[in-house]
């Protein structure tokens, strides 16, 4: 499966580079004005110019993202275990979880502010609302998809529920879990940014909104770039962690 190990990172970089070059060319050749779509070079120079400011704002965004993400993981585990143990709770709770995802966050934003104020808490909560779902779903689906035969094996070995969880369900669900984690990580920074749009005084979202309303599109894109880079780095870190934890699978694939 992984024949290109050494060039693994080359292809995506080439893909991104190609996209950037195309973008630059289109903007220059078709003379797209900066208030519609700034060129990559202009974005880069805005990034350099505003570096300190962006760093200042990013720190807050990262903080909310990570705290929310951590909470999401813990919560997802707790809930997944409960849902897996009690079929009734699962059946009652699952639709509520789904509903929680179909509600547009921005529609209930004032409620969040009213309940949790303007501090970092509502941002963290939005991160949790967004990230928690894919993680818990991946865990629950992962545990559901275990071959009945293995469950029987553990039954004959008289394993307790906790043991079945720890020795069978958890490792089995880990593959799914890391998929869910990567999806959650994809949306993690973005959701903190959305949280910042709801109100606040610091964060990439605040920076971005101000730049947008001042028609500084190069700065808007610089902040998008920062969001993308942060997200990609986090996803990549999870990928590496996942490969370590699931080494038996990776070894098998590389065979």
């Amino acid at each position: 499966m992984k024949k290109y190990i050494n060039t693994d990172k080359l292809y995506p970089i080439a893909g991104i580079a190609l996209a950037l070059v195309l973008w630059q060319i289109i903007v220059q050749v078709r003379n797209v004005p900066g208030y519609i779509l700034p060129s990559p070079t202009r974005i880069a120079s805005a990034l350099v110019r505003d570096f300190e400011l962006i760093r200042y704002h990013s720190a807050r965004t990262l903080y909310a993202s990570f705290v929310g993400f951590g909470f999401s993981i813990v919560l997802a585990f707790i809930l997944a275990i409960i849902m897996d143990s009690f079929e009734i709770i699962k059946k009652a709770l699952y639709p509520l979880l789904v509903i929680s995802q179909t509600v547009p966050i921005i529609a209930i934003a004032p409620l969040l502010i009213i309940w949790f104020g303007f501090g970092t808490l509502p941002k963290i909560i939005i991160v949790v609302i967004v990230c928690f779902f894919p993680i818990v779903i991946s865990l629950v689906h992962g545990m559901e998809s275990i071959d009945e035969d293995y469950l029987r094996l553990f039954k004959t070995m008289k394993a307790t529920k906790l043991q079945v969880f720890y020795h069978l369900k958890l490792p089995f669900a880990l593959v799914h879990f890391f998929s869910g984690l990567k999806i959650a990580a994809t949306y993690m920074i973005m959701s903190a940014v959305i949280g910042e749009w709801l109100g606040g005084d610091r964060g990439i979202g605040v920076y971005m909104l101000r730049a947008k309303n001042a028609y500084a599109l190069d700065r808007v894109f610089a902040s998008i770039l920062i969001i993308v880079i942060m997200s990609i780095l986090i996803i990549y870190a999870i990928e590496i962690l996942g490969n370590r934890v699931l080494h038996w699978q990776t070894e098998r694939d590389e065979d």
């Binding site: 208030y35 519609i36 505003d50 400011l53 921005i106 934003a109 004032p110 502010i113 009213i114 104020g117 303007f118 749009w197 709801l198 109100g199 606040g200 005084d201 605040v206 920076y207 909104l209 101000r210 730049a211 947008k212 309303n213 001042a214 028609y215 500084a216 700065r219």
Partner: protein, 306 residues
Amino acid sequence: GCGGETEEKTTVILDWTPNTNHTGLYVALENGYFEDEGLDVEIIQPMEGSSTTLVATGQGDFGVTYQEDVTYALTSEDPLPVTAIATIIQNNTSGFASRKTANIETVMDFEGKVYGGWGSPSEEAILNAIMTNAGAEYETLTNTNIGTDDFFAATEKEIDLVWIFEGWTGIEARLRGIELNYMPIKDLDDALNYYTPILVANNDTIKNNPEKVEAFLRAVEKGYLYSVENPEEAAAILLKYAPELEEELVVESQKFLADQYMMGADQWGVMKAEVWKDYADFLMDNGLLEKELDVDNAFTNEFLPK
């Protein structure tokens, strides 16, 4: 009261990202006017359109909003406990803008054009009224909501006409060398010269802590007066608190607004009952309000510095 060893926590909620409409607030903060009044002020940038609700629910003591919003808030089924306490600008500095290339010079030219709205319930009524007044046929205008999208992107393609703030988007157009046709709203119909933006306070604060409201407005007035006198310095102060903004836009906008804050009034912030009544009547006549606005309870000038 004023003074005191411990400063009173005060939260001000903006209506949008920081801009030149807000300069006086930042000047008051920077120059210590709030501190002098014993107020420890925090200025918050919320999601667009949520400031009135947030003030009503006690998330902020004061908020920036506009007259129409307060009119709706006070006539809704569960009226929000807020009262307008000052207008930041005397005249409505918003209006209809189009690119010169769209050839919209009078309201008559609105016919057959596409209007890009921002989601207010009253836009259709307002356009209908001004077009009908001018003898144009409103039905020929297409009304499309462009949400939070900006003028320049919207008018790039199919949108002809957008409602803008002259002191912000109008200035930006000038800086970019994009020529506009601009019709101030206040020139189109007297009823439409409503206050925007304005300051509101929570009714609890007004009732239980009127000194705080007075102290707040004293400091804010000083801030806006300073901005009128020293537009460039005021712009620098705004930029200090919102360095994400474009300096040139802020400075030019500040110069424009310096003349606007108090135009036609001898005191900063003062509001007239007719302005509130006329616009409420306009909305009522067009079936946009659930019930009559009680103008006396909608605003008050009593906390403005004498």
